[in-house]
């Protein structure tokens, strides 16, 4: 097995393509999560808005449809439709599938994050919103400056979990001609049909990434907890 490792990773310069793949995977997952958190927060805020006016009600319905659409279809289907159906239908050609993947993963995780965030916002004492409104801050400002930061702190572990799910799910991007971590490892085995080492290394790499993320989330949690003492 060690010989196989040396042959695939060192002699055939496998480490170069694997590093490229790692960069692509991390890029898609991190930027995707960022977009997801932005979209998710926006949707969550819209959905917890008081609903005695027409506009919030309409927006709530739209956001509800969005969430159901992206949660109700598999990620891989969304990716395929985005890249092979929607973009060609709009007559848009892209040089690389990476931005498309980032946007699609962002849109998808936005749907999930919005539900997580909604729970987070609801878990914040309503008095916080009242106090903000009472000193004359508008709804949106109070939401963004007071309620959402506290909600984020509450949902941090769940958000970390979402990131972990996301980073593992990116392994489907080879469907749109993107070479990510999974594909770059797989390629090492292709010339000789010997996938034992690449697959084990792949699992190990994902595991290390996930452990790093978990540790990061825990560190962030302790830091946030400490900062309010």
């Amino acid at each position: 097995m060690w010989q196989e490792f040396v042959k695939q990773f060192i002699t055939r310069k496998g480490y170069i393509s694997v590093l490229d793949g790692l960069v692509v995977t991390v890029e898609i997952a991190v930027l995707g999560l960022l977009i997801g958190v932005l979209i998710g927060t926006l949707i969550a805020v819209v959905r917890v808005m008081p609903k005695y006016k027409t506009l919030p009600r309409v927006l709530d319905k739209i956001c509800g449809c969005y969430v159901e659409l992206f949660r109700g279809t598999p990620m891989v289907v969304q990716l395929l439709i985005g890249y092979w159906v929607l973009l060609p239908a709009m007559d848009i050609q892209v040089n690389s599938g990476v931005p498309v993947a980032i946007i699609m993963f962002g849109l998808n995780s936005g749907a999930y994050v919005s539900e997580i965030m909604r729970g987070g916002i609801n878990s914040v004492d309503p008095g916080q919103m009242e106090a903000g409104r009472a000193v004359g801050l508008p709804y949106a400002t109070t939401m963004m400056k007071i309620v959402v930061p506290q909600a984020v702190k509450n949902i941090l572990p769940t958000l970390g979990n979402e990131f972990i799910v996301l980073i593992k799910e990116t392994s489907i991007v080879s469907f749109i001609a993107v070479t990510d971590l999974y594909k770059s490892f797989k390629q090492l085995g292709d010339p000789t049909y010997n996938y034992t080492v690449p697959y084990l290394m792949l699992a190990l790499t994902y595991l290390i990434m996930v452990l790093v993320i978990s540790a990061g989330v825990r560190a962030l949690e302790t830091k946030l907890k400490k900062s309010e003492k």
Binding site: I16, N95, S174, A177, G189, D190, P191, Y193, Y195
Partner: protein
């Protein structure tokens, strides 16, 4: 409480067993289990055989591993890939009888009728060169392999780039190593690009999408050991065939069940319920 739960579980299990048995009884008898790779023409061929249980895998290599583990009896595969499999994975043997033969063609964007004419002309013109490429890969003369280094896709230079879709996971047709593309298709693609005076772009993707991708996202042609079929010809133009491949059976070297077979009919008798037995 625990008792009730275990009782419920037992009932559920029994029901499940009964259900499975019932559904087995309804099916025709399984003569053999054959492993295949999803989306390939060899799998489609296996699908029409009566009494064959086709088990699909993501790659031929996984199917071969499954056979070694006893999950399937045989693997159905095209000959060239089968030979490569036998070379790289020990304990495999290929049965020389061709179940069927199929033609490989280059899938070309239907919107570019001109491109098909050009490619056909190049295939005819460079016939000797292409034959040499095929030979060196079939004979595994690794020192003669030439790696192809493509450029990045740039949609603004679409008319100066030949964008080729492939699934670079099938040695000896196409695979990636040392950050370069190798394989018969890849070296032919390099010839096409240089003859057309274009830069070569390779879009490496899942095989399921290779044919469908042609004409989308700037992809001009697809080369991935693609068999010419009527269904595929509906969505793409095919070049003149550049290789004739046969579908064969790979088995474990220790397995002698196919040893006595001399003809296709013999082979099919072992593999499946023959037509006259119905």
């Amino acid at each position: 409480m625990k008792k009730i739960i275990s009782l419920l579980l037992a009932v559920a299990l029994l029901c499940g067993c009964a259900f499975t048995l019932a559904s087995c009884g309804g099916k025709e008898t399984v003569v053999s289990k054959i492993g295949a790779q999803k989306g390939t023409t060899s799998k489609m061929y296996a699908d029409i055989l009566k009494g064959v249980e086709v088990v699909t895998y993501d790659t031929f290599a996984l199917a071969a591993n499954a056979m070694n583990n006893g999950n399937v009896d045989y693997v159905i595969v095209d000959k060239t890939t089968g030979e490569a499999l036998c070379r790289e994975i020990s304990g495999l043997k290929i049965n020389p009888i061709a179940l069927s033969s199929e033609n490989y063609g280059i899938a070309i964007d239907k919107a570019q009728a001109n491109l098909k004419t050009q490619i056909d002309a190049i295939l005819a013109d460079k016939d000797a060169e292409i034959q040499a490429i095929k030979d060196k890969y079939m004979n595994n003369e690794t020192d003669k392999f030439v790696g192809v280094t493509p450029v990045a896709k740039n949609v603004d230079k679409a008319d100066q780039q030949l964008v080729v879709a492939t699934n670079a996971e099938f040695a000896p047709w196409e695979y990636k190593s040392e950050n370069k593309y190798f394989g018969i298709d890849m070296e032919i693609a390099a010839i096409l690009a240089s003859e057309l005076g274009m830069e070569l772009v390779i879009e490496d993707m899942d095989f399921d999408n290779v044919v469908g991708s042609v004409g989308k996202q700037g992809i001009d042609i697809a080369m991935s050991g693609i068999t010419i079929t009527a269904e595929r010809a509906d969505v793409v133009n095919f070049s003149t065939p550049y290789y004739t491949e046969s579908i064969v059976i790979v088995h474990k070297a220790a397995d002698t069940s196919l040893a006595s077979c001399g003809t296709v009919v013999d082979l099919l008798t072992v593999l499946c319920v023959a037509a006259e037995e119905e």
